[in-house]
């Protein structure tokens, strides 16, 4: 009853145009008053503060600043020149650059939001310049950024491992192939879109000397991910600090090498980045307010009861896990979605003989998809902010990406070897 009310209020407020942060908060407050639930509002609102408090969120504004710096004339031009030179023979080559870069960033950061912010602020403009629809470019950034939580390291997998008592090392290994699968399928979508729309049709081979020149010009920019990966894997910096290092490096490159940025422009850049990240973060905070109410009222149990009464085989069980997770993913972020459901699904998985590591990968893929489905999806918001295209406007151009993601999800769900081969090898 309350669950239906919550869903109705949420959809209604969002669709009549209440800004998301307030719509989510109204959805959390209204049931407490209507059903006289007796939860003090000050206790409810503490989650608004707690939701934006975690230190790793600092990576969001910093990666936005780093990305903005790197997307200035010099760097952006050179990256696009080099990428085109490298991939111009393939239809959709520029889109593939987005996917490849997202997988590269995903291999270092563990946060899909930071990935989308870093890639999106460089690539959306460039894709639009190439002739892609800005909505598709934004959608691709939103979808590709989520590969970051499937490929290790991954914050949602860490949390699943902690909650479920499952080996984190195994989970990380298990996520690698599924992450590559999502990436390949997204690249396939780029191939198809580039070819069909004709904006990025491929077929042009670049002469070797031009390719070399383009490469040399891009080295300072390409050093940035190298610096980030190197810094994190050598243990010098945490992923959050890597974002700060990236900003300082970006400043040095754009001021000293490419000479297209002045220190006096930095405050404006900083302000824009922090307003952008604040817009995303207050929505994340509001989501954790709603998540608190959803947890207290034990609404996920209603869904899980339904699963239990319907399922009779592991196949049906996994199908229902996917449906429940996809539905929750519409309105919840990965961490609360996993916290709410992992303790409920794990014992059920055992009765159906599903490996807990495999279940963790399936759930992670689901919450990753939830990040780019409207109405609530963090990478979708980031891409929307950067591109200036509305969330629904983006989603309308993501049909093929959703199709690719669902196809990948089905493979991950019903081919356990995709997840389990690597953990069994090592």
């Amino acid at each position: 009853m309350i669950l239906l009310f919550v869903v109705a209020v949420f959809l209604f407020t969002v669709f009549i145009g209440v800004p998301l942060v307030w719509a989510i908060l109204i959805t959390a407050v209204l049931p407490i008053m209507v059903f006289d639930l007796g939860y003090p509002l000050q206790a409810l609102y503490l989650n608004f503060i707690g939701g934006v408090e975690p230190n790793h969120f600092i990576a969001i504004p910093l990666f936005i600043v780093a990305g903005e710096l790197m997307s200035r004339g010099g760097v952006g031009e050179r990256i696009i020149t080099f990428s085109r030179a490298l991939l111009s023979f393939l239809p959709g080559g520029l889109g593939m650059v987005v996917v490849g870069a997202s997988m590269l960033f995903g291999g270092i950061s563990g946060s899909a939001i930071a990935d989308s912010a870093a890639i999106g602020s460089v690539m959306i403009k460039n894709m639009a310049k190439q002739g892609y629809k800005p909505a598709f470019a934004a959608g691709l950034v939103a979808a590709a950024g989520t590969i970051g939580i499937i490929i290790p390291p991954s914050i949602p997998m860490l949390i699943y491992g902690f909650v479920g008592g499952v080996s984190v090392a195994d989970l990380f290994l298990a996520g690698t192939l599924p992450g590559l699968l999502f990436g390949l399928l997204f690249m396939g979508v780029c191939y198809r879109v580039g070819k069909a729309s004709g904006c990025d049709a491929g077929g042009v081979m670049t002469p070797a000397p031009d390719l070399w020149r383009a490469f040399v010009g891009t080295i300072p920019a390409l050093m940035m991910p190298v610096l980030i990966i190197g810094g994190i894997f050598s243990g010098f910096v945490t992923p959050t600090e890597a974002a700060a290092v990236a900003v300082i490096y970006g400043l040095l490159v754009t001021m000293l090498i490419y000479r297209d940025f002045h220190l006096r422009d930095l405050p404006r850049l900083m302000i824009d980045a922090f307003v952008t990240s604040a817009i995303v973060m207050v929505v994340i905070g509001a989501t954790s307010v709603l998540g608190w109410l959803i947890t207290l009222e034990q609404m996920p149990y209603v869904l899980v009861d339904a699963v239990q009464s319907l399922s009779s085989s592991p196949w049906v069980f996994l199908l229902l896990v996917n449906i429940v997770m996809l539905v929750l993913g519409l309105v919840l972020d990965p961490v609360p979605a996993i916290l709410l459901t992992a303790p409920l699904f794990l014992p059920m998985a055992q009765t159906f003989g599903v490996d807990p590591v495999h279940l963790g990968v399936i759930m992670t893929c689901n919450v990753a998809i939830g990040l780019f489905t409207p109405p609530v999806g963090a990478t979708l918001y980031v891409a929307s902010r950067i591109s200036g295209v509305g969330v629904l406007g983006i989603a309308r151009h993501m049909g093929l990406l959703y199709l690719a993601a669902i196809f990948a999800l089905i493979l991950v769900t019903y081919v356990p070897a995709l997840s389990m081969t690597l953990p069994r090898l090592f």
Binding site: V18, F48, S384
Partner: protein, 169 residues
């Protein structure tokens, strides 16, 4: 839908002051994270208080940024559906109602947010012994500033000021 060009001088000054604090907070976070990484990497020295200060800065820049976003009319929203289903007059009335509800919600956030900060004033952070309420006050203060901008935006809308560029989501 940037409202700032329509603001009187005082309100514009307030908006610029918030922007200044955001830039300052942003620089501090950047310098702090960078120097902590450098110090630890090169000198084997970790600033024990850096986590606490960044948490403080993160909370304050987030909620001040929320107010700055209201002045810019930049909060994410879905306007496509009401634009398709409703005519201009109905949309106008709906906008007034939504604005009023948001104002009430922000008021409740200020009121209870203040109570949260007051309750946690006696709690001290673990390294610098700052009042935890000082961190949490970011929410009611940010919301109070948000309310100021929101009320003036409401007034602009009520007067029918033509604010160009209907951005969405």
């Amino acid at each position: 839908m940037d409202f700032r060009p329509f603001y009187p001088a005082g309100l514009r000054a307030l908006s610029s002051a918030i922007d200044g604090l955001l830039a300052l907070g942003g620089f501090s976070i950047l310098i702090l994270a960078f120097s902590n990484a450098t110090l630890r990497g090169l000198a084997g020295f970790d600033l024990a208080w850096s986590l606490e200060v960044t948490a403080f800065l993160l909370l304050w820049t987030t909620f001040l940024g929320c107010a700055a976003a209201i002045a810019r009319g930049a909060h994410m929203r879905v306007t496509e559906i009401s634009a398709t289903l409703l005519n201009a007059g109905a949309r106008n009335i709906l906008e007034h109602v939504i604005n009023l509800v948001i104002a009430l919600l922000i008021l409740s956030l200020i009121w209870h947010g203040w109570s949260i900060a007051a309750h946690q004033w006696a709690q001290k952070t673990t390294v610098l012994y700052w009042p935890v309420g000082l961190l949490y006050a970011a929410m009611p203060v940010g919301m109070a500033l948000s309310l100021i901008f929101h009320l003036f935006n409401m007034w602009l809308h009520f007067r029918g000021t033509d604010i160009a560029g209907d951005t969405q989501a």
